[in-house]
């Protein structure tokens, strides 16, 4: 590799420094490193490694969606939700089912194996469904899970190798935030006083 530009002049230092700073600050994916090296076989195996990392993240997201579907099912079957609230809970559950289906599809396309749902009895024990005694209890549980899910999706965005999947994570976070906002309003909880209250 030549150390000069096409006109024979040495590269300008600021540009080279900026490149080094940029590459130093943002970790390169295995695929990007393989592309820099220029080996086709290395690029193929690196792409597989990057996809494997993304599949791992997506499978945690899928486990989260399985749990959310179960949580709304427990709430719906509890007999504690009044009719208009029950309708909203069922609608939110349908959103989570849509998330689940999209994640299963994506994981499959990336060559991964989607994690399975646990049994309802296990979810009930893990979420302490036996402590739910009122509609407010159910809504508070749902609000905590939705807020946690929104933050989970935001917190894994930097870990994705594929920016398109990072965007999917942001879209999932937006749905969970919308759910949390409705639930918080139903519970009479105040909106966050400060901006940028999610993620970080």
């Amino acid at each position: 590799m030549s150390s000069t530009n096409n006109d024979g002049a040495a590269p300008k230092l600021p540009a080279r420094r900026a490149f080094l700073q940029t590459t130093g600050q943002a970790a390169l994916s295995a695929t990007a490193i393989a592309m820099l090296v220029g080996s086709e076989s290395l690029i193929r195996s690196a792409r597989a490694a990057d996809a494997s990392k993304d599949v791992s993240i997506l499978n945690v997201a899928l486990a989260l969606e399985h749990e959310a579907i179960a949580a709304y099912q427990l709430g719906a079957e509890s007999g504690l939700l009044q009719k208009p609230v029950l309708d909203v809970a069922v609608q939110f559950q349908s959103h989570h089912k849509g998330h689940r289906d999209a994640l299963v599809d994506t994981i499959g396309k990336l060559g991964g194996s989607p994690v399975s749902s646990k049994g309802m009895g296990q979810y009930a024990a893990e979420l302490k469904a036996n402590t739910l005694g009122s509609q407010k209890d159910v809504l508070m549980l749902a609000a905590r899970l939705e807020k946690g899910a929104a933050n989970a999706y935001l917190g894994v965005i930097p870990a994705f190798q594929d920016p398109a999947l990072a965007q999917v994570s942001a879209r999932l976070a937006a749905d969970e935030t919308m759910h949390w906002t409705v639930l918080a309003q139903a519970l009479g909880q105040p909106l966050p006083a400060n901006p940028l209250s999610f993620g970080a």
């Binding site: 791992s56 945690v60 979420l127 807020k147 946690g148 989970a152």
Partner: protein, 126 residues
């Protein structure tokens, strides 16, 4: 001239380091509890395994050691013990600490990490 610039740069860095130490606050476990409730509860609880393993006794625990939780192979063989420094590195970027782990969730703020760790330390002592 170059030597003078280097000395001034070193003095500047030293001043920045000392200033940040002066203004660094002690970890706040109560704030950590609130952060835990908003950031971690999506996947974790203190006393039950869910999407992630239980956290009530995580401080001082060996990584990958909860018997009834399905860890990544990477974390199981890591031999890490969860203390302030290891938890800080884990929360900053789990993949950097244990390549092949499956959490991937990052907490970018050092103050937030410190508060979360203070909360987890207190929870393990309760």
């Amino acid at each position: 001239m170059r030597t003078l610039a280097l000395i001034l740069a070193a003095l500047g860095l030293s001043l920045v380091a000392h200033t940040s130490l002066l203004f660094a606050r002690a970890p706040d476990a109560d704030r950590g509890a609130r952060l835990y409730d908003s950031r971690c509860v999506g996947c974790h609880s203190l006393d039950t395994n869910r999407i992630g393993p239980r956290h009530g006794d995580v401080f001082g625990r060996t990584a990958g050691s909860v018997a009834d939780y399905d860890y990544s192979a990477a974390l199981k063989r890591s031999e890490i013990v969860w203390r302030e420094d290891t938890l800080d590195a884990w929360l900053r970027n789990p993949e950097d600490l244990v390549p092949g782990q499956k959490m991937n969730f990052r907490v970018s703020s050092a103050a937030d990490r410190g508060d979360l760790i203070a909360f987890l330390k207190r929870a393990a002592q309760d």
